[in-house]
Assembly symmetry: C2
Homo-oligomer: 407 residues x 2
Amino acid sequence: MDWIFYPPWAFFLASAGQPSELPLALLLVFGAAKLFAEIFERLRQPAIVGEITAGILLGPSVLGWVKPSDTMSALAELGVMFLLFRVGLEVKPSEILEVGRSALLVAVIGVMTPFFVGWLAAHALGYQWIEALFVGAAMVATSVGITAQVLASKGYLHHPASRTVLAAAVIDDVLGLIVLAIVSSLAQGGVNLLDLGLTALLAIGFTTIVAIWGNRLIVRLLPAIETNLSAMEARFNFSLVLLFALALLATYAGVAAIIGAFLAGMALAESVGHREHDLVHGVTETLVPFFLVGIGLYFDLSLLKNTTLLGVASLITILAVATKLASGLGVWNRGRADVFRVGIGMMPRGEVGMVVAQLGLVLGVISSQTYSVVIFMAIVTTMIAPPLLRLAYRGQECRPSERLQIV
Amino acid sequence: MDWIFYPPWAFFLASAGQPSELPLALLLVFGAAKLFAEIFERLRQPAIVGEITAGILLGPSVLGWVKPSDTMSALAELGVMFLLFRVGLEVKPSEILEVGRSALLVAVIGVMTPFFVGWLAAHALGYQWIEALFVGAAMVATSVGITAQVLASKGYLHHPASRTVLAAAVIDDVLGLIVLAIVSSLAQGGVNLLDLGLTALLAIGFTTIVAIWGNRLIVRLLPAIETNLSAMEARFNFSLVLLFALALLATYAGVAAIIGAFLAGMALAESVGHREHDLVHGVTETLVPFFLVGIGLYFDLSLLKNTTLLGVASLITILAVATKLASGLGVWNRGRADVFRVGIGMMPRGEVGMVVAQLGLVLGVISSQTYSVVIFMAIVTTMIAPPLLRLAYRGQECRPSERLQIV
């Protein structure tokens, strides 16, 4: 265990130290997340923003009771994997492929605009070109987990705009990988076009094949598998093996593990029943708070004291909001309301933007100040998207009977 | 992430290394566990033994694909906490208190016999007295998780023998704490009787108070809490907060976190419904394989090559089996069948015995050879209990309709 805590009362109570570490971490993270979810709900704000706020408060920058650690990261990653898996379970591949063309347009605008605007703006603000490129790349990211959680918890998943966002986020991840591959190659020397082509081909190939044929394969295979398995909860266990396998293959193909999790869910959408939905939902409810608190942990409040840096961070954040809103124009033919729904849905950068910033830090091409700026942008875009989403979707709820069937 | 893997094919496939680490770990552990569960089911052996076997194979002693690590331990601990929580949810406190007297007798015999027999036997085998004391203390442990999993999955939880085992395991943990406190104090110098008395008082006080009053408090509080919470799945989230809080308090009181988890489940048994059962079951199904594989990881096959050591380990294991069987005599008035059911139910030492061995290693009072012997005893007793339990309970299944209601 390497969670690090300093709640003052722990010293008085802990007898042996070690065995209380994990339960203390679980209680602090889960309890604070749910407490703030409740407070925010009462203030008519999204619960998800409350849980991220809990992370900011628990984190090193305020109370310092919980610090990022391996165990925390593993629980957070598992949480967001299950979240995307659950969302995938509720989406039929046909529904996603239907919106494929407009999603592609949304994703392309949503990658190109933030990247070039971010790069040029950062360069204009005085950053070196390679550092500016990383700022642009971080602005490309889309944290589909945040949007998916809001849409799923409110019963909006089946709205065409929601399906467009999900499809666009998958494509966005593939395009984002290519952008990041180019930027990191530049940071390390030069771009090898053959390597780059192979990377792109592998990512696109994996995603397309699983999205199109995964479902058909499972629909045929699962009945045969089920009748041959004698263990209990065979369908649920098979689903989890598929989830972990596709998450792993996704990382081998260069895209995020959560994209594999989403594709696994989608491949199973027509084959699993209420029972599996409920079981997966239990895991999601338990672990998603670790993902949300985990995002908040990285917030660095000391940035707010440095006026110049705060100015830069605010400007970058405004551009990050505006450029992703622009991606909504990919569905302009569906009316202004959907343009906003899609644009806001693509807005949160969350953990994906943070990973880019960390990579830049590891490669030594961005300063710790730029890192703070990117983290600020990633967290602020993540926290303003949920209330905006609720506004944009107002009046689009399913009727309660429908929603019960879905959730 | 600090899981360490060396599957040879990972080197060919992994692109970036880092992002595939967690999904690879999840797939290997969960996939292997379920594969072996299936194989063992087909051979008419308990699935649980298959999952531990998967851990032995994946572990450092055979394939070396997975090593014990912080993340692995955290998932395993979370898994066994949810397992005991789920079992607690199915047991009403009145059912446990009813069997309290016989359970106390079972626990006392089940602590004293293995401790003194283990200590004297180890001393007779040539161990120094402090090392022999630790062997005895490790033989005291009861891994209630293993027994609970077998009983719950087969629908035996409501049998009087099962309730006796659960109650005795809780008391066993408290008595085991006292034994371990004495032994560790001896290893570090001397026994402070005041400290020891306080330790015992705290452990007994916490367990008794929560077992007797927890349920009454929750039955009164929960309706009020529920009507006042506006967040979704409020009852489930409240249950998890209680679970983590009691697990933490249990460690502060000196007993194991899983005892707190069990007491939390029992306190909620009359207040939560099918929905919460299903959600908790999802988490349990997902994480318990990490607990079972985690036990197997510690197995050291090289011990089998050293004939003397293997002889010592086998003798200790036979004594460990016999002395816990003797604890079944606490229910001699209920007939021979129940004596066996209870005795076998108390048999697995699992992770609890291993923790004692590790403590001995850390305190520098047992050698690495003795450590291997204790681990061997802990794992073998854990693997022979499930098939014996199935034999002992044969014909005691609930009718399918009852079982559906329970599970």
